[in-house]
């Protein structure tokens, strides 16, 4: 029954003391929040800390959430974004990584074909490295829109900016990513050629 409820309805129940609703809400939203922090920081440790802080913040300020201003998922991404930023400022050298964390997670999706699996890992590592090297406000839109598959409107709510800003930042971020991948991973398919834009 709770599985059919929206995030906002679960929060409403949790605010009235329903532990089951809160647990369900946590299990539903912790993954995206964790992955957002992980993609942003490249550090599993930071991602875990941020996830915990986000839900403790929700316990503290859950009454302030206004469903009319947007969905709960975008609200949580917005909170997570602030905590990621704070974690990066606190321990910049540790939090910001130019290379992503090693994939030592046993839950990783793997391919039965070992060669293809290695290729996938190399690709993802190169792309993640490129994403991590982006400036923060470009990295945010790539993580939210491309990796978390948020709509432009939800990303705009999470980032607290206009929808057009998200759109233009994402377009610019894609251009930057392609340039970086041309330099760092030219062997990857599609990045070896010249991707100059034609504006005729």
């Amino acid at each position: 029954m709770l599985a059919e409820q929206t995030d906002e309805q679960l929060l409403e129940l949790a605010l009235n003391g329903n532990e089951e609703a809160f647990t369900d809400l946590y299990r539903r939203r912790q993954g995206p929040v964790y992955r957002f922090a992980l993609h942003m920081s490249g550090s599993p440790q930071v991602a875990e800390e941020v996830t915990q802080e986000v839900f403790l913040f929700l316990l503290q300020r859950g009454h302030d959430f206004d469903p009319e201003r947007g969905v709960l998922g975008a609200y949580l991404f917005g909170v997570a974004r602030n905590y990621v930023r704070r974690a990066m400022e606190k321990s910049y050298s540790e939090a910001v990584k130019t290379t992503p964390a090693e994939d030592d997670d046993p839950n990783l999706v793997t391919d039965f074909d070992p060669v293809r699996d290695i290729a996938r890992r190399q690709t993802s590592k190169a792309v993640w490295k490129a994403v991590l090297s982006l400036p923060e406000h470009y990295r945010e839109v790539v993580v939210l829109c491309d990796l978390q598959e948020q709509t432009y409107a939800d990303a705009a709510q999470a980032l607290g900016c206009a929808l057009g800003t998200v759109r233009s930042r994402l377009h610019r971020a894609h251009e930057m990513l392609m340039k970086k991948l041309q330099h760092t991973a030219p062997a990857l398919a599609g990045f070896s050629g010249n991707a100059a834009r034609c504006l005729s």
Binding site: A14, L15, G17, E19, F22, T23, Y26, Q30, G31, Y34, R35, L38, H39, P44, A47, E48, T51, Q52, F55, L56, L59, Q60, R61, G62, H63, D64, D103, D105, N107, L108, V109, R120, R121, S124, A126, V127, W128, V131, V142, D146, L147, R167, L170, H171, H174, L177, M178, L181, L188, A189, G190, F191, G193, N194, A195, A196, R197, C198, L199, S200
Partner: protein
Amino acid sequence: MTCRELMEVAESLTPSQLLRAVAEGQPLSAHVRECAACGRWLESQRSLGEALHTLQTVTAQREAGPAVEAAVLEAFRTRGFAPRVVAMPEATPPAMWRLSRFFEIGAYAAVAAALVVGLFLGARILQEKKTESATSQAQATSGSKTNQSALPVVNSGPAITPQVEEKTAPAAIARGSSPRSKPSTQTPANAATSDSDQAGYVAMMLCDPLICSGDEQVVRMELPAAVSADGASAQPVLADVVIGEDGLIRAMRIVNE
């Protein structure tokens, strides 16, 4: 469709949406077939979309550990949701803040008082400087006048010998009431008569209080007989001469007349 229109469409779509639109939409795919540059650009977009999708799928199963879940649920059980915070209209400031506010006002008052005192002293110093400069200027002018009128009289006698006895100027003269009082309203003749009535001194020059400032000395001098009134007397004439700081004679009286 032009290249610019394709870019405008591309900006509004994510890479995966763009690829779907090219696959489905006739105008987009038609332009890509015609324009090699847009075809290359679209190919790079497709590659980027695939690469991002790979990263997405590789990390899709990652999530926070059980320790985080335990900590969050424990916080919910022990504390629950914090009650809604109602904004207070105006909270009273704490005692410490009031104390610091008191000191702050005190500091402002001290600074203001220091400014007032500084302004007062500055104005006073300025006024004194103005007075000094006016005095020195007037002395210079009166000195030149006195040299024209008084010096011939003093220098007329060949031997003006000052006595050893030296007195301070009489109080009336020192205060400026005798030779210097009301000089601007009196003619030299009137001043001479009135002053001589009081102390026997005859003013030798018009003394403005601003000009004739400073101490005066009374010097008893022995004047040659030629200077005396009868002119023929052989006895020297003793006179008390009031001399100012500038060396000019302010007043004089005959002692052994």
